[in-house]
């Protein structure tokens, strides 16, 4: 039996507001437990929520970025359930009238084509706190710093047909929210979390199979692995004569499998009703237009511009436009270096390698884009060779100065004085009589390959500083002349 996989994602994006969605407490990550929880976040008696306008602005910006309808009137509802890290006994969310309606994103497929994924809606809600089950000797600690942090929950239609598509979609959402600057998108800190709705059906069947929901997957890699594991499970289950039941599951990365959550871990009747403490959010066209005017260039537009203006390949443009930080960095490098293709190579190959080695995101790259641009500039004006430039990258990373300072300090300036190069060439030839004889005896077509040996010797003798083109010319002249 051939199976088709059907996936829909619910992505929770933590919005980068200064304060929480309904209180004035700071929404920053990483403070000591319960130091960023106000009386409102603690749900003290008589406390009331007041909506943070920034959260609304950010939600609307997202809606505009995915060409969604923006609701002129949206309503906050209460989702009622008991949990110790949910102080009010309800979460303020939007059930019946979300702020962002249906939208659309385009995702790249592995075969180079693109696919459209529909956004069902996106709504604002508050995050819960955290339960800490370790370190409390059989008790549970509650940290309410995160309680009330604004989230935008983006719900897709079940339009994805493979784990790879789901990851591409998630990357696209990540890219859009970071471009908009409405979230840091840092999955390791929970700024983006994902619930994956997964089902399978025989190829050709129109109705969907029963879905299982994998809760709270928190990395691109795990999304792919969790979905694949779940798909595998469902197919095996059905092929063994079983039936998939609609349930909530958790992905265990160690075992690489999904497991059903205990029924007590989720309630099934949330008793949603409109929160009487909050007024409907009413948005007019002029507000929407004002925000539309502030939208930055989005990933798709940027990718287009990169291929057109910089003549980059589709692949390079896609990689470099994936995050706004990387795209901005790249463009800064181009501006200083004056060569887009060379800049693209340096950013995507040499710099990426260093970033990966040091596990550093581009946002915290210690090499300023201007520095890298200058380095490339020095390759272009023949001050240094590409090979020397690679040697300079490391000291640049370590903050040992600007490219020019390092070139100066380490005496790496390329030797272009033909007299000096000639002298080295003469020495090399004098010490390699046998190879010289062989070269001269060899047929024409084998000579270029043999020339490499001499070039290598000269470069070595010059500590890599001799201008390779000149070395070539002079060697040829001497050997053949």
């Amino acid at each position: 039996m051939q199976w088709e996989v059907v996936i829909g994602l619910e992505v929770h994006v933590q919005l980068a507001t200064q304060s929480k969605i309904f209180s004035g407490a700071s929404a920053a990550f990483g403070a000591d437990p319960n130091t960023q929880a106000s009386a409102i976040d603690l749900a003290m008696p008589g406390m009331l929520p007041v909506l943070n306008g920034e959260a609304v602005r950010m939600a609307v910006c997202f809606g505009l970025a995915v060409n969604a309808e923006i609701a002129h009137r949206s309503v906050f509802d209460r989702k009622n359930y008991f949990y110790p890290d949910l102080p009010k006994g309800y979460q303020i969310s939007q059930m019946y009238a979300p702020i962002v309606g249906t939208g659309l994103v385009e995702i790249p497929l592995e075969n180079g084509e693109t696919k459209q994924v529909r956004i069902h809606h996106a709504h604002l809600e508050e995050d819960a706190g955290k339960s800490l089950h370790e370190d409390f000797h059989g008790m549970t600690g509650i940290d309410l710093n995160r309680a009330g942090t604004p989230l935008l929950e983006i719900v897709s239609d079940p339009d994805m047909r493979s784990a790879a598509e789901a990851v591409a979609y998630l990357r696209k959402i990540h890219s859009i929210v970071t471009y908009l600057g409405i979230s840091d998108g840092d999955m390791s800190q929970g700024s983006m979390r994902c619930d994956c709705n997964v089902s399978v059906r025989p190829v050709g069947q129109t109705e969907f199979g029963t879905r299982a929901e994998i809760k709270n997957v928190n990395s691109f890699r795990f999304v792919e692995k969790a979905i694949n594991a779940e798909v595998q499970r469902q197919i095996e289950l059905i092929e063994d004569g079983g039936r998939v039941i609609q349930e909530t599951r958790l992905y265990d990365p160690d075992a690489n499998e999904t497991r059903a959550m205990r029924t007590k871990e989720y309630a099934n009747d949330y008793r949603y009703f409109p929160d009487p403490d909050l007024l409907p959010v009413v948005i007019d066209d002029s507000y929407i237009q004002r925000l539309r005017d502030t939208l930055p260039e989005l990933p798709d537009e940027k990718r287009h511009r990169f291929t057109e203006n910089y003549s980059l390949s589709d692949y390079d443009a896609a990689v470099l436009s994936q995050t706004r930080a990387l795209a901005d960095y790249f463009e800064q490098v181009v501006e200083t270096s004056g060569d887009a293709k060379l800049s693209a190579n340096w950013v995507m190959v040499e710099l990426s390698r260093l970033l990966n080695q040091n596990d550093t995101p581009i946002e915290r790259c210690p090499i300023a884009a201007e520095s890298l641009g200058q380095l490339i500039q020095r390759i272009r004006d023949n001050t240094i060779s590409g090979k020397i430039a690679k040697q300079i990258l490391e000291p640049l990373w370590n903050g040992e100065g600007t490219p020019d300072q390092i070139i100066e300090k380490q005496g790496l300036k390329q030797v272009t004085d033909s007299g000096a190069i000639e002298q080295i060439v003469d020495e090399v030839l004098a010490n390699s009589q046998e190879q010289v004889d062989n070269y001269r005896a060899a047929p024409e077509d084998r000579r270029p390959k043999m020339l490499g040996f001499f070039v290598g010797q000269v470069m070595k003798a010059s500590k890599g500083k001799a201008n390779p083109a000149q070395v070539n010319d002079i060697l040829k002249q001497k050997l053949e002349g």
Binding site: G46, F82, K88
Partner: protein
């Protein structure tokens, strides 16, 4: 001294006839000597009150007193008061000391008023007899064994017994007007959104409104001058200018149009009560007002709609009382579920549990449309009835309650009969309108109130009408027999 109104006390303070410390001592002494009869206070604030009174006298000496500087008063124990226990009449909050002031409390503090203490109430403001308090039932000063009404029964009894010149209160379905009626005092529930709900423990958020309890309309106007106004901390508070409510108290009632809802004067109303209310309304006619009958055709649906919406909201509002962060926690919970179940089972009283159950049911999947949404539709119909009525009239009048005070225990076994106590008051909350109850008659020696309902933000007109009535009559001056 305790027979004086706030207005008179303010004048006495201003004239230097008495100091705030003397006044405060006087009322504290009365509370100490007499409140065992009424149980109208849960917490008496002796030390802090005297300290505040000294500060008020000093402020007056500096020359920047407000009309409230140095005036003793009391807060219903639903308003959070920084550093002073706030119980909401519940075991659940019997140990709760808020670190913040409700906006209402902060405004009285700013004005320099002296809070004597916190008054008793039905638990979480749920009740019409003040028999649902964890801190014991309250007795109506008009008679041994009589209820004061509820939920603001403590505030009403304390004002009626002259233990405080005035008290704050709240009204979700009649909790100011009904006890005011039963205790023979003046109570005002403002328009929803007029007074901030910040720091007021929530019962039913879309209905709750803070208001006033005093002996006269004039004092009520003074109170509302302090309490009313926009508060950015309450999203449902309305940003609209606040008039000086005392400025229009003496305006003429010539030509004022009074509407009498046919539905409020049905056969079910005791003819004696009906006549007493008609007699009171006749006083307004003497002052030039025009009376006409009106229809509020959906009135009969108010109680059923209310008893879906209010419990639904309360079931959610009271979820925060889970024994985790503050308030009552059961002893030695075995696990999380045990902590929740026993903390809430032991911390809440029966009426609160009943309403949480009703509300949870009404919001449940499969019932939500039939109950909650239906009730909201009814609510809009009721609101529309009033909007239509106020096209033709300025004030709607009728009885506040079906009868005067009943006896302790008389209705405790029958919640539905108890709920009918608010039959005339509830629709005002559903519509969000301002309403008052003023003493209008004595029936068998017990007071009963006239209810005045106004258009949105028309508190000044209600106070004006009530004040002129009180200038012309003396029902508000009647005191319970045997009052010391």
């Amino acid at each position: 001294m305790h027979d004086k109104t706030v207005t008179e006390l303010a004048a006495a303070l201003e004239q230097g006839e008495v100091s705030s410390v003397e006044l405060t001592q006087h009322f504290l002494k009365r509370i100490k000597e007499q409140d065992s009869r009424y149980n109208s206070f849960i917490t008496v604030n002796d030390e802090q009150a005297l300290f505040d009174a000294q500060a008020a006298d000093a402020r007056r000496a500096r020359g920047d007193a407000t009309p409230w500087t140095g005036i003793p008063f009391a807060h219903k124990d639903i308003f959070c008061t920084a550093g002073v226990r706030t119980t909401c009449g519940s075991r659940m909050l019997s140990n709760f000391v808020p670190p913040y002031d409700a906006t209402v409390a902060a405004r009285f503090k700013e004005a320099g008023a002296v809070c004597l203490g916190k008054t008793n109430m039905d638990e979480f403001a749920m009740g019409s007899s003040n028999e649902n308090s964890y801190f014991g039932k309250v007795t109506n000063p008009w008679g041994e064994g009589l209820v004061p009404g509820g939920s603001s029964g403590g505030s009403a009894a304390a004002v009626a017994a002259r233990l405080t010149p005035a008290a704050t209160a709240t009204d979700t379905g009649g909790s100011i007007r009904q006890p005011a009626s039963l205790c023979g005092i003046t109570g005002l529930k403002p328009t929803y959104g007029r007074v901030s709900r910040y720091g007021m423990v929530a019962f039913a958020s879309s209905l709750d409104q803070g208001g006033t309890m005093a002996r006269t309309a004039e004092d009520s106007a003074l109170m509302l001058n302090v309490m009313a106004g926009f508060d950015a901390k309450d999203s449902t508070s309305i940003d609209r200018p606040v008039p000086d409510y005392t400025a229009t108290l003496n305006d003429s009632l010539e030509g004022m149009r009074i509407g009498l809802p046919r539905e409020y004067f049905s056969d079910q109303l005791d003819p004696v009560v009906a006549q007493a209310i008609r007699d009171a309304i006749a006083e307004f006619e003497k002052m030039g007002a025009k009376v006409q009958e009106i229809d509020l055709p959906h009135s009969h649906l108010a109680v059923p709609a209310y008893y879906v919406i209010a419990p639904a909201e309360c079931s959610s509002n009271l979820s925060r009382f889970d024994g985790v962060r503050y308030g009552y926690r059961c002893d030695a919970p075995k696990d999380l579920e045990d902590l929740y179940m026993r903390s809430r089972a032991e911390g809440f009283g029966d009426e609160v549990k009943r309403r949480i159950l009703v509300g949870t049911y009404a919001l449940s999947a499969g019932f939500f449309d039939a109950y909650y949404l239906k009730a909201q539709k009814v609510r809009r119909l009721i609101q529309q009835d009033f909007i239509n009525a106020f096209k033709d009239v300025d004030v709607i009048m009728g009885p506040t309650t079906l009868a005067p005070a009943f006896r302790h225990g008389e209705k405790t076994d029958d919640p539905v009969t108890m709920y009918l106590e608010d039959i005339f008051t509830i629709s005002t909350n559903l519509a969000g309108l301002p309403g008052m109850s003023i003493p209008a008659a004595l029936i068998n020696g017990l007071p009963i109130g006239l209810q005045l309902t106004g258009n949105y933000f028309d508190e000044a007109r209600l106070l004006n009408a009530a004040h002129r009535f009180q200038q012309a009559t003396d029902w508000h001056l009647k005191t319970p027999a045997g009052l010391a």
